[in-house]
């Protein structure tokens, strides 16, 4: 049969399914709840991350007490160069007791050397707490520079010293020995990286949610059509492949819409929260997005990979659902897909804790690749070639499922009886092949 005929009517199944998904009261309520949940997300994170910061004090003044014979230059002048500290009121003398919106520092002698003791204010709100840390660093620089100047260092030497030096740890077995000029600039320390872990987990959870929702909906929908005895009525108009593909695509659009609503909620929440609360506690999340380098190209890679993964699990769910005869069997049908999705998620998370070699290799494996390849690419652990290879292999897996569906879906969709698991469905396809060969 011509392949084009197999998919005739897909568009109509797609639009009907999508419209019904959007009309469903349960789905509308779920979307509204998701939107409000997203709106609340940022304030909740901010509240739990920064505790009492919202009610904290502002840092308005700074007391500096010099108990040594050193002549300290004008601190006010030094701080004026810093955008965040230029408005701070600098006072000489001892930090008075009971003042809430201030901090202080004492320069004293300890065992013959000058020591700077910073009198930190623990009640400052988050933003001002950061300001206090910056102030501490600035004061230290001023005093240290003065100490070196007194020791005879000229201005050029002081500027050179101010640049400091950095330290990196690289594992020698990760360096390319054949390369005459190895590039050491990549920051790959091999150890636990919180940002890396968070980004992997975030992407995996996104994909897992997408696939889990699709699997649940498609399995239930296929069984509902079978159990409602609608299949005969539908099959007289559309081929089983079109019936399945239309559903898979409609759910994809619905889930994308659902997630867009959530993202819109988060963005609105972020905008409003930044006006009302101190959102410095979200700097970690910001760091994750920065580390992922979300350019148009990278987003496209995420999109293509996610869609490939989604289509794979959607088709698998359709096949497993068609092996059931009633809704009570849906749990069993979903378990095959759930196990694979969980496997992809777990492998993605665990490889972020282990060696990068394993992550690189597993990034091209079908099923695992959809959870791993995009983040590994964005982190620079695999190249574009590996991403394309992973797409190719995942596409091959999808084609294999389509081939399997074409063999057995027509039988499965009208099948009534004990639930057929995925292996039995594969065996059924094998038997049919043998019968076809015999008939030929």
């Amino acid at each position: 049969m011509k392949s084009k005929e197999q998919f005739r009517g897909t568009g109509k199944v797609f639009s009907f399914t999508l419209v019904q998904l959007l009309k469903s009261k349960a789905n509308i309520i779920a979307m509204i709840i998701a939107f409000f949940f997203s709106i609340l997300l940022i304030p909740v994170i901010t509240f739990f991350s920064s505790g009492n910061e919202k009610g904290g004090e502002e840092l308005k003044s700074f007391y500096f007490e010099n108990q040594t014979d050193f002549v300290i230059p004008d601190i006010k002048e030094a701080l004026a160069e810093n955008e965040n500290l230029k408005d701070l009121e600098i006072r000489e003398g001892k930090l008075p007791e009971g003042e809430k919106d201030t901090a202080g520092a004492v320069l004293m002698m300890e065992e013959g050397v000058p020591a700077l003791v910073f009198l930190s204010n623990p009640n400052l709100k988050g933003e001002d707490s950061l300001k206090q840390e910056e102030l501490m660093s600035c004061i230290y620089d001023v005093i240290d520079s003065e100490r070196l100047r007194m020791a005879g260092f000229d201005e050029d030497t002081l500027r050179f010293l101010a640049k400091g030096s950095s330290r990196q740890i690289r594992y020698y077995n990760e360096l390319d020995s054949d390369d005459d000029t190895p590039d050491y600039s990549e920051e790959d320390q091999g150890g636990f990286d919180q940002t890396d872990y968070t980004s992997r987990m975030g992407y995996s959870i996104f994909l897992m949610t997408l696939c889990m929702y699709a699997v649940g909906y498609i399995v239930r929908s296929v069984i509902e059509e079978k159990a409602s005895k609608l299949v005969d009525l539908l099959l007289v108009s559309v081929k089983p492949a079109a019936l399945l593909l239309g559903k898979v695509l409609a759910v994809l659009i619905y889930v994308i819409l659902y997630m867009s609503v959530m993202v819109a909620g988060v963005l609105i929440s972020l905008k409003i929260s930044s006006l009302l609360f101190n959102t410095s506690a979200l700097s970690g999340i910001s760091a994750v997005f920065t580390s992922l380098n979300l350019t148009g190209k990278n987003l496209l890679i995420v999109l293509v990979t996610s869609i490939l993964g989604y289509v794979f699990f959607g088709l698998l769910a359709g096949l497993c659902g068609a092996g059931c005869s009633n809704m009570e069997e849906s749990g069993g049908a979903m378990s095959t897909c759930t196990i694979l999705i969980m496997a992809g998620y777990m492998v993605s998370i665990f490889t972020s804790l282990g060696s990068t070699g394993a992550a690189k290799t597993l990034s091209v494996f079908p099923v695992l690749s959809v959870f791993m390849a995009p983040v590994n690419y964005m982190k620079g652990q695999i190249g574009m070639g590996a991403v394309i290879l992973s797409w190719g292999l995942q596409l091959a897996a999808i084609l294999l499922l389509i081939f399997l569906s074409a063999r057995v879906y027509r039988q499965l969709i009208v099948y009534n009886g004990k639930r057929l698991n995925f292996l039995e469905i594969v065996k059924m396809a094998g038997r049919k092949e043998a019968e076809d060969e015999k008939a030929a």
Binding site: E5, R8, G9, K12, V13, F16, V19, Q20, K23, S24, E224, E225, S228, K229, L230, V231, D232, L233, L234, L235, V236, S237, V238, R410, Q411, V414, E435, A439
Partner: protein, 324 residues
């Protein structure tokens, strides 16, 4: 137009469920596929319509393989269903558009069929009120707007009428009705009968499968009786009946005539207050019995000599196979 079904064959594992089924329709009319439960009727229909893979045989429509692409088919399946939680109108429009009917045209056809099958109140819950005096329609002011009806809010009979509508929406040239009247009350049965009669009059090709022999007898010209996957009787219904001869005698008198009946050699099938259902060997035996009664001065109220009914033929044929 013609329909040619040849040597359809299907087996599941080692069990043969349809064994070499062949029949044809060279002109418009109604063909009946009859059989006991599990005889293979529904499987045959599914194979004919290319919904189920065949192990052998073919079905041709105008010389080309029959499929929903080559022929506009309306199919009312034995296992009927609707989406329980979707609005009825949405479903009907969906089923029509799947068959290639434009949305606007589908809505017109839905309105027309809804009126004929008396299901407007479920499909148009907020339709304008018809004024009794003028017959004009006016908006239902002050009436709370009702939500579109869902399939699971309808009785089984009304659901069946909606499903029948779904089969007829594409104005099909070949209509396949699997047990179209089962479970319907007499009023609704008549509504669907009327639509079927109209379709026959419009020159449509119908294939009907039913256990209600009176319905089949009313509409069908040709039949195939299946039993346990095999064809046990096939042909034109009138010819089949003629081949059996007129052997059913309905006789009613004013007093007991059982002695005369026994003497004539006729077999009494049932008896109630001097009203007898008899099985005779033919017209000669029946006429002899009538002559004897007249000669004896017994008033005869009813003398009706008929061919066997389809029900009797069916039971006889299927019974023969089971006895073998």
């Amino acid at each position: 137009m013609s329909l040619q079904v040849s040597h359809l064959h299907k087996k599941y594992g080692t069990k043969v469920v349809v064994d070499d089924l062949s029949f044809s329709m060279s002109g418009p009319g109604v063909y009946a596929l009859l059989g006991t439960n599990g005889a293979g009727k529904t499987t045959s229909i599914r194979m004919m319509l290319d919904m189920l893979a065949r192990d052998g045989g073919e079905a041709l429509w105008n010389g080309k393989p029959l499929s929903t692409e080559s022929c506009n088919v309306g199919y009312l399946a034995e296992e009927r269903g609707l989406y329980p939680k979707y609005a009825l109108m949405d479903q009907l429009v969906y089923f029509a558009t799947l068959r290639g009917v434009a949305k606007d045209e589908a809505k017109k056809r839905i309105r027309s069929l809804a009126e004929r099958l008396e299901v407007e109140e479920y499909l148009y819950p907020n339709q304008p009120v018809i004024q009794a005096d003028t017959g004009r329609r006016r908006p239902a002011f002050g009436v709370k707007k009702e939500k579109p009806r869902l399939a699971d809010q309808l009785s089984k009979g009304n659901q069946q009428k909606i499903q029948f509508m779904a089969a007829m929406l594409s104005d099909p040239e070949l209509i396949v009705l699997d047990e179209p009247l089962s479970g319907l009350d007499p009023v609704n049965t008549d509504l669907i009968r009327d639509v079927i009669r109209e379709e026959i009059a419009r020159g449509k090709y119908l294939i009907m499968s039913s256990h209600q022999m009176a319905t089949v007898e009313e509409f069908c010209t040709d039949i195939t009786i299946l039993d346990r996957s095999k064809t046990v009787l096939q042909g034109n219904l009138n010819d089949i009946k003629k081949s059996y001869g007129r052997v059913n005698l309905h006789l009613k008198c004013e007093r007991d005539i059982s002695g005369y009946i026994k003497a004539s050699g006729a077999q009494i099938l049932s008896e109630k207050e001097y009203e007898y259902q008899l099985k005779v060997t033919g017209e000669i035996q029946a006429n002899q019995l009538l002559s004897q009664l007249i000669s004896a001065g017994i008033p005869v109220i009813t003398f009706d000599l008929r061919e066997p009914s389809l029900h009797e033929i069916f039971v006889e044929k299927v019974g023969e196979v089971h006895e073998e």
